[in-house]
Symmetry: C2
Subunit: 256 residues, 2 copies
């Protein structure tokens, strides 16, 4: 039975996709079977793992709307143990179509439950919004990782996100937990970076991952080669950070 | 009659809000009357201009849903000639409410037309989505500035955004033009940054602003003090870049 973790934060550009790709790749390198679900119509996780977003035949959209079998849409990535349920630009239209479905908040859960037994982890990359697809991801998930960029605006939206999570815990998914807050794009030389880290650690205490993801150019170069950073430059700070994050996640879940 | 410009790009974290605040402040410093409309429920432009987002009584939401007069909701910023129509977290719900309105794409245009004669420029900060509120902004606008972060993922979504703009030009706003592509968070030392600049300039030629916005810590520190960068550190690279952008915009529109 896979552990399902959503990557969510309505603030844009905070490292949701970068974390989905690289945490998944790190867990795969440690020989866990991992499925990444790209639930963002931008399809950045799909292209970041090396797939041409214009050549995808079956994506999450077809699974939701045309009821294509989930395992028919899953692709094998270039790392052993790593798989992807790709996204497609058409997913933008899915939200409107889902509004009229009977169990509209449980659509993604139904898609995912079909393959849940084939993996150890399923990571869902969400778009920068709290719309119906993100609600679906949080309803299907066992827990949520909240990437927090070490910037001022990134702090502001956390209250709204936590409210949404509470509503989902009350009405749609009582088991949903917060896996942790992940500080990203940390630069130890910047006062602002350190202020944000202090503030998040004061507020959220032991819900904050020990592992900080530092700002590292290799993390933003890797997707242009369609590779996770561990395959692009295994010695980089970015690769080390995400491998440490994978190990910390396993420890937290008593899986080492 | 104000020139109305939307800041739009569904990719998150590319500099939409930073550009809305700092281009507006630069135009105000050059003594043009400017209104910033915060059309993002995150309300980053509202807090970035120094307002407490929890204390806003009338926001764009009340103008849209309760039909509060637009000028009743407008606030004066701490710079002469600069005004703000603030946002509110409730705006998230407005999209659902607007779906049932008769002229649902023209709601923001109607709100804005009431005050259009009082300003030289109106800048609309959009959320990272192509949903109904962003469609409203593009329908109300004379032109759109597309911030493009100098990163790989930022290139991917441009096709979809340009498609959306074409659809709006055909069906909702024949006068909508592309004011320009604005390259943001440029770091001349990084190969990736230079590759993105080359690619955007090759593709979009003279539609790309000459002014590049470089990565500059003062731009990300300023909002934590509720100030535009020109008020936070007028000598910074960030302040200079946005003043240059304001001058380039004025030249392009034969307003110098
Ligand atoms: N630690 C890091 N160091 C350097 N660059 C990073 C880091 N993490 C992410 N990036 C880069 O920052 C940009 C934003 O990251 P990413 O796209 O993962 O964020 P996101 O939250 O998924 O964005 P969106 O809200 O659009 O979905 C990307 O170009 C990415 O390559
Ligand atoms: N040129 C720059 N140099 C350094 N930091 C910048 C620059 N431009 C923006 N930033 C910072 O990068 C982050 C993202 O910018 P911003 O919030 O303006 O993007 P956005 O497109 O409005 O994001 P969203 O998609 O969430 O609305 C912010 O923390 C901002 O302070
Ligand atoms: Mg993303
Ligand atoms: Mg913004």
């Amino acid at each position: 039975m896979a552990k399902v973790i959503a990557l969510a934060n309505q603030k844009g550009g905070v490292g949701k996709t970068t974390t989905a790709i690289n945490l998944a790749a790190s867990l795969a390198v440690l020989e866990y079977d991992v499925l990444v679900i790209d639930a963002d119509p931008q399809a950045n996780a799909t292209s970041g793992l090396g797939f041409d977003i214009h050549k995808i035949e079956n994506s999450i959209y077809e699974c939701i709307v045309d009821e294509v079998e989930t395992d028919k849409a899953v692709l094998k990535a270039d790392i052993e143990h790593l798989y992807l349920l790709p996204s497609h630009i058409d997913l933008v239209g899915a939200e409107i179509e889902m509004l009229n479905m009977p169990d509209r908040e449980f659509v993604l859960k139904n898609v995912l439950d079909k393959v849940r037994n084939s993996y150890d982890f399923i990571l869902i990359d969400c778009s920068p919004s709290l719309g119906l697809i993100t609600v679906n991801a949080l309803t299907a998930a066992d827990s949520v990782i909240i990437p927090v960029q070490c910037e001022y605006f990134a702090l502001e939206g956390l209250g709204k996100l936590l409210n949404t999570i509470k509503i989902i815990q009350n009405r749609l998914n009582t088991d949903l937990e917060i896996e942790g807050f992940l500080l990203t794009m940390y630069d130890s030389r910047l006062r602002l970076s350190n202020q944000v880290v202090d503030e998040v650690k004061t507020h959220f205490q032991d819900m904050v991952f020990e592992t900080l993801i530092t700002r590292n150019i290799k993390l933003s170069e890797a997707p242009s080669y369609g590779k996770a950073v561990v395959m692009y430059d295994a010695a980089s700070k970015g690769a080390t950070n995400y491998l440490n994050l994978a190990r910390e996640l396993l420890q937290k879940n008593n899986m080492t």
